[in-house]
Amino acid sequence: MTALAPIPSTAPFSAAEIGLLNSVVARSSPEQRAWLSGFLAGLSAGTPAAQAAPLAPPRKRTPLTILYASESGNAESLALAARKSAAKLGFDARVLDMAEADPAALQKAGRLLVFAATWGEGDPPQRAADFYTALMAGDAPRLDGLHFSVLALGDSAYVNFCETGRRIDARLAELGGVRVAERIDLDLDFAKAAAAWTTATLETLRPAEDAASTVVHVNFHADAEPAGETAPAFSAESPLEAEITELVNLSGTGSSRETWHVELRTDAPGFTYQPGDAIAVIPENDPELVAAVIEAARVTPDAGLLAHLETSADITTLSRPLAERYGRIAGREDVARLAADAASFQAFAADRQLLDLFKTYPATLMGSDLRELLRPLPHRLYSVASSAAAHEGETHLLVGAVRWHAHGLDRKGVASTFLADRRRKGDSLKLFVKPNRHFRLPADPARPVVMIGAGTGVALRGFVAEREAMGATGHNWLVFGERNFTHDFLYQLEWQEHLASGTLARLDVAFSRDQPEKIYVQHRLWQHRDQLLGWIGDGAHIYVCGDEKGMARDVDDTLARILAEQAKGDAEAGRAALKALAKAGRYQRDVY
């Protein structure tokens, strides 16, 4: 037997003790080691050693790479859960975030599990964009012999459902990879299917000899979560029912906006969040819309169905899979044809909803048909607008009420108008925390911070409150944008207080509709670029929160332009400098 050294030199023993332990363990049989591990585990658990079950690890742990591309954290949690399962099965599993990885890292991976989310209209998650581009590029490394399988996450409300996962799956095969299990595409209600797929796929990836063995493995790594991010006490399945203690439309009379400030009592034990996190709100559907859907579907409702449609079913989203199912259930050839053709479906679905489908292609459905047709009602994410340190026992949200008119009907955002129209002070709201470890204040309180937020992006208020509560000495600069100074200056009185107290060292505002020319936050950044570069030079972290298309993209371009000008370089140099800031965690975005 070769000289095995199973106890690593990093183990918490002296070098002499490690040598001693290795001299015993290296020569032990699997049975002996299993007994020993069980004995030791039992010892620390305070149970009699004799009851520890004799267990054994695999002869040689198979390396497995678990790669994820995450936007809201779902793909990341699936990846972490997969690592747990993989470890149980004896894999030597490591988790890689696409944001921090390079396709070359896959060349020697051997076995690969991918969890890939799709963002918006078929894009990769923002932080994974570089990896994704490199993987798709002509000079991507060959991945011959790589055993892989892909789980794709998406939202069927969008046309290019699970596009990122689909394209990664195809690309891995193109580059020589061997698909060991078929890809699965999952909608917002992914949890159960993802767990089942993970278990099955891991089995497939297991080497034959491992699969054949009957050895039961002990999990010594039950707490192998990233530091500081413990599993939340509340979840989609068991949300916190929080009392609404304040609910006020901050937009003044005369505003073209409707922006609700919501305060929630969240002093339940175990409920924690950090500024930067998102709060998932579990909404209910508008009873009037439920009635309209029932009428359009010509269903005879019972109380159970009504409750289901109000609280559990997505009755607004019009997706192709849904249209397919509807065509089948209703026996309508025309709907089946519509769903079969991507272009014509897209043309029909533009700014239309489920109700429009029922009204345009009526059919008489059974209650059970309707239940089968609809996917579960998804929760909605809102950036937290408070600081647990500053607002003890409270969680604040800033919610823009979504209302529009299309195809002859008034439409309403499900969660935002649930809050705005059907919740009152004293009512409860179901919610849980979706941690966002990619949007965090600097650990060093002396660092300056530049916060750029437009509209509800000024949930950055949570950051400002946190910095004040923490007594952070670094200067804070807020750049806020909205439409009109008079009616849309969200939290104006609070900013005035923060300026007076010095918590805010600087405030710049951009109101787009107050004057003939449009002024946005990026114009203020450009206008004050010398100061901004000074702040960056002093080590400032930059945070951007708000609408991607309406703001964050332009801010991103402007920051790159400012950095390019400073480097006396071209656009590419500015991009590279901005990327370097992002890599260093000094440029973080929470955009939607």
């Binding site: 901050l250 100074f485 008079t486 009616h487 939290y491 005035q496 003939p516």
Partner: protein, 573 residues
Amino acid sequence: MTDKRARNEHIKEASRQLRGTIAEGLADQATGAIAEDDQQLVKFHGTYLQDDRDLRGERARKKLEKAYSFMIRVRIPGGVVTPAQWLALDAIAGNYANGTLRLTTRQTFQFHGVIKSNMRATMQAIDAALLDTIAACGDVNRNVLATSNPHLSPAHESALELARSLSTHLLPRTGAYREIWLDGERIAGPDGEAAGEEEPLYGRHYLPRKFKTVVAVPPDNDVDIFAHDLGFIAIVENGEVCGWNVTVGGGMGMTHGEPDTFPRTADVMGFCTPSQAVDVAEKVLTVQRDWGNREIRKRARLKYTIEDRGLDAFRAEVERRLGYALSPPRAFDFARTGDHLGWQKGPDGRFHLGLFVENGRIADRPGHGLRTAMREIAEIHKGELICTANQNVIVAGVSARAKKRIDAILAANGILVATSSGLRRNSMACVALPTCGLALAESERYLPSLVTRLEALLDRHGLREDEIVIRMTGCPNGCARPYLAEIGLVGRGPGTYNLYLGAAFDGSRLSKLHAEDVHEAEIVSLLDPLFGRYALERTDGERFGDFVIRAGVVAPTLSGRTFHDDIRLAGRR
């Protein structure tokens, strides 16, 4: 010795000739307001900080400060602008203000709702239109009025020329306006005693209170000459102005419940030649500068100086400073206040349109596109556009051909040249709510509907076409000159007014309080029988304001100091 001077005197003194910290305040993006002392100083620059009082209730809960914005008043001596200037002002209203132009009783435009971040751009746009807002408010000589249409005679033309000369001569000289609003350059400005040198006329403390100057040409008293601190009445010989009667000590403002404050009609002090007029104005202003009450702002207007020191003493001091005596006043005769509305043919054969603008608000409303109509007229008009002292507008100097086009524009936008009644033609309200900080009651937003209600009474008594002057203000300060109206309504509280009756139709006699704290139903039931009696009992050509005195409804007010005497309130109904 304690300094008993009013707070504003200290603000002016420390302001480095009206600079204060206005520029710093404009740079503060977190608030739509400016510092409290600067709020007094910006008035001298022609602007007031206001807030939308309709919204006060909701703001704090929405974590918003008051809905601040600025009112900006343009300086237009005599109210005459070119069509190009009208178009520029119209564009400003759309770009930076609330989409309306407001004609005021000082023959000018006000913009409302200009937020702080747009202030410089607005002032610069006004400057680009070759206009300014200097001294349109504040303790200085305000916009100078002249009888409305210079084209009616050489005397009318002289009136406009004098108004312009007076305005220019009495203008503050401080560089603060240009620095703050136009150049944007921060110049420290002189401090201490040196400061006064920048203002040879006004010194460091400017006037004790506002100072209003007008020029009139009888028989029209369209400028309400007796309501102003200083006035010039044209004395015409052989078609030319041979000199001016000088009036002093008129003024409207008073305070509810303080009988030593009162409106006052001006005294005719003497007569001067055309070449003396500007000099006389300067000396009247400097005597008031030196004699005026700087301790009690409510008693700081020239009218109280003259009440307290006597007209003779005042005239003597003016003459001492002039170095010559004024001649005795010449005879003059005013026939009426108000404007000539409708088309009028001038002596030069050109046409002039006096267009009634209800309460001076030039706005587009459904079916009533007045702002659009005026813009379209300005686009084709070759003459002038004139703001009147009664918040109306005159399209002056129109050819016969252009007259047809203008009529077509008005018709296309739903604007009638004829008004619904003699009462409405002679109605006038101040701005009041929601922007005016002083308003105690509605005025501009309310008077039109009250007039409609009164028109029903007039119809019943056959008085629809009779000219009766009705004016309303939201507070007792009297911007719409309510105490010189035959029917005056002055706000006391939400929905309640004091009703004044008995002023002279020609603007020479003040009214008298008839009923206190009355609301609409009471106003209607008090006026209904009076209209009825007037219709039946009036003598030939007798005006409503004269009738109510003859009928014993109210006692005549023969001088300002007796305004609060002989009050016999009507019984409550």
